[in-house]
């Protein structure tokens, strides 16, 4: 957006300018309204004009011969006022208060009507009660009658409202217009707020660097900050991952060396230590690499993965069972998915001593549920166990393998596949962990 030259660059100036324009608009608008209101004739004027017309018509008809008068009257009639001539009076003077008042006003308007036989009748319009049908009959000098029919219109609403109402409405309009313009001006601010919210949730959002100069500076600073944070995180992650990979070679040496230890107990303890370190490294690398996993998503049989995980545990003589569907295709990364299911089963075996895995389909959702008979998780901690490096038994003696990344990784993997992780304490005791994924 290229603002034109007179448009100020700073937000404060822009707001000031908009307010000034609004005030000016209001001023001009109300002036025009008041000017206009004078153009509308009020009731008095209309009555005066009717009286004038009556007198003028009398003069014309008096000058014409009797047999031409009716035709003449028709000629001088117009759309608003109908004139007619007849030998007999067309109306009886009702002499009500309204007519008496009208008659006075007629005579005030045309003093020549004083002392003449003038009959008036005023009737309120049925459809528009503010309008009045006026009939006026004047006896000419030869005793015939001239009749005038016209309508006295009520003043238009704009005139009635002109003093307060129009100013009010105009004010509202101007305020609305100014609000719209200001809303537009503050759009970049709202975009920034939304972006900041998303960035807080881990997304990378590039916001448009547009708008007032100070807002533009803010957007630029925001984008630059994001880039710096992202590159900082990337550098740290890469460093940590590199260390993780590099540690594997010394671990491989250690493991092989353990094979040469003659003392069986010592050898097994050494091997168990290496296994634990390997497991920690694996989970750390899975956690760090989770964001940009190169594994492609593909149609995958969830049932086969779940069965493999359970069979592996059963082969290690641990109590794991599988029940449910023989096949259930999902769109996912099979290796990640296997890691997720395996983490949950490992947790169940570790904390609950047994893992009962079931696979069901609930509509469009594939549900892998793993139940154990352990102590469950206190309701207050249910959300916390998903945080990285959180360990349920941290207060107790440290006897768990891993870094406390297990469920964090599961959640990370499920999110990437469009699924969710649900933890529930079973009413009969133990924990139920559900991995819910969109089924194909």
């Amino acid at each position: 957006m290229k603002p034109w030259r007179l448009w100020p660059q700073r937000l404060v100036s822009q707001v000031t300018l908009v307010l000034m324009l609004a005030v000016a608009l209001e001023f001009i608008g109300s002036s025009i309204l008041f000017e206009n209101s004078r153009l509308y004739p009020n009731r008095d004027n209309q009555v005066r004009r009717a009286a004038e017309q009556l007198v003028t018509a009398e003069m014309i008809l008096e000058a014409a011969p009797a047999h031409e008068r009716a035709a003449q009257a028709a000629v001088i009639s117009n759309r608003a006022t109908e004139l007619s001539w007849s030998a007999l009076p067309s109306l009886v003077d009702p002499e009500r208060l309204a007519e008496r008042d009208l008659k006075t006003r007629f005579r005030d308007a045309e003093p020549s009507l004083r002392g003449r036989d003038l009959r008036l009748q005023a009737e309120t319009d049925r459809a528009l009660p503010r309008d009045t049908h006026l009939k006026a009959a004047l006896r000419l000098r030869d005793g015939s009658w001239l009749t005038l029919k016209t309508k006295i219109r009520a003043a238009p609403w704009a005139v009635l409202l002109s003093s307060v109402g129009s100013a009010f409405i105009l004010g509202l309009g101007v305020i609305a217009a100014a609000a719209l313009v200001l809303r537009n001006l503050s759009r970049p601010l709202r975009a920034l707020a939304e972006a900041a919210d998303k960035v807080g949730k881990g997304a990378h959002v590039r916001i448009a660097e547009s708008g007032a100069r100070d807002l533009k500076l803010l957007a630029e600073a925001f984008n630059a900050m994001q880039d710096r944070i992202a590159s900082l995180l990337r550098a740290r992650t890469e460093a940590l991952a590199a260390v993780g990979h590099d540690l594997r070679t010394p671990l491989a040496r250690l493991r092989l060396r353990a094979g040469f230890v003659k003392d069986t107990d010592a050898r097994e303890a050494l091997e168990a230590d290496v296994d634990e370190m390997t497991a920690m490294l694996d989970s750390l690398l899975a956690y760090l690499g989770g964001q940009e996993d190169p594994e492609p998503r593909r149609r995958t049989d969830l049932a086969a993965i779940a069965m493999t995980v359970v069979d592996d545990a059963a082969d290690a003589e641990r109590s794991a069972t599988y029940a449910g569907l023989d096949h259930l295709p999902v769109q996912a990364r099979p290796v990640s998915l296997k890691r997720a299911i395996s983490n949950v089963v490992e947790n169940a075996l570790h904390y609950g001593g047994a893992a009962a895995l079931s696979l069901t389909r609930e509509g469009d959702t594939a549900v892998v549920a793993v139940e154990d008979n352990g102590p469950g998780i206190p309701e207050a901690d249910l959300a916390e166990v998903l945080l990285p490096f959180h360990r349920l038994d941290s207060a107790r003696a440290r006897n768990t393998a891993g870094l406390g990344l297990g469920l964090t990784i599961v959640q990370q993997i499920l999110r990437r596949e469009g699924g969710v992780l649900v933890l529930k304490n079973r009413p009969e005791g133990g924990l139920r962990v559900e991995l819910r994924l969109p089924a194909l």
Partner: protein, 256 residues
């Protein structure tokens, strides 16, 4: 003794006791790990050779007959994948890749390039020796016709099996995860379709890969395989039990 890594040929001390000891070439840049591997292999009755990088490997291969190569993926100068491809251009020598990246993508690339196995670091002595023995058994028994290499895909009853990538796809195209032993068992069946195969033979074939497999019986493996291959009642027919003898794989197998 020269364990520093410069010696191309480790002293053939046990030549007298094992005249037919298979020669294993270790290509590994980490000196300590190389030394350990050589010591381990010698103790297990192999004849180890070593190389620090690709160029040295090429020199060793020029002057020696090698039965198997242990190839580290991360070497100075050249990448293990390139070396693997280079070896495959003119040799069928079995290759076992060693990698510090226990990464499924790397594993697949390695196997596709013609590696026979892929072991993530750290690995145990037992695991390494078992895999080396399994591969040597496979190649030296001349049973290569049974265990086709490369990318020859096999299809049966809508399923397709890719021995190169070690992948099974269901009739609706879904990837079906199989354990190593299950895959080898299926491969054994598919390699000898519509023929009765005895339990002992199957056990031998499916344990070729992981000889440290637990005492799970072949029947358990078959029942797991049946369940994974189950498609509305078809599974029983695919793997039929021949009472007292073994099993028969009933479907016709097409190779592509």
């Amino acid at each position: 003794m020269d364990y520093s890594g410069h010696g191309l040929i480790a002293p053939p001390r046990e030549l007298a006791t094992a005249p037919l000891a298979p020669t294993v070439l270790v290509v590994e840049d980490d000196p300590a790990l190389r030394t350990l591997l050589i010591r381990l292999l010698r103790e297990e009755g192999f004849q180890p050779l070593s190389a620090r990088h690709g160029a040295e490997m090429a020199r060793v291969l020029e002057t020696n007959t090698v039965d198997l190569i242990l190839l580290d993926l991360m070497l100075p100068g050249s990448n293990g994948f390139d070396l693997c491809r280079a070896i495959r251009r003119d040799s069928d020598v079995p290759i076992v890749m060693l990698s510090a990246r226990d990464d499924e993508t790397d594993r697949l690339i390695g196997l596709e390039l013609g590696a026979d196995d892929y072991i993530g670091k750290p690995f145990s002595k037992k695991e390494l020796i078992a895999r080396i023995r399994a591969i040597l058994r496979r190649t030296q028994n001349g049973s290569q016709s049974n265990q086709p290499r490369g990318h020859q895909q096999m299809t049966f009853a809508g399923w397709s099996l890719d021995p190169g990538r070690r992948e099974l796809l269901s009739p609706d195209g879904a990837f079906v995860e199989l354990s190593g032993a299950e895959f080898d068992l299926l491969l054994a069946f598919v390699s000898a379709p519509q023929r009765v195969i005895g339990r002992e033979r199957l056990l031998e074939m499916s344990r070729a890969r992981f000889s440290d497999a637990s005492d799970r019986s072949i029947d358990v493996l078959v029942s797991r395989l049946r369940r994974k291959l189950a498609v509305s009642g078809q599974a029983e027919a695919l793997l039929r039990t021949v009472r007292g003898v073994g099993y028969i794989f009933t479907a016709a197998v097409e190779r592509r």
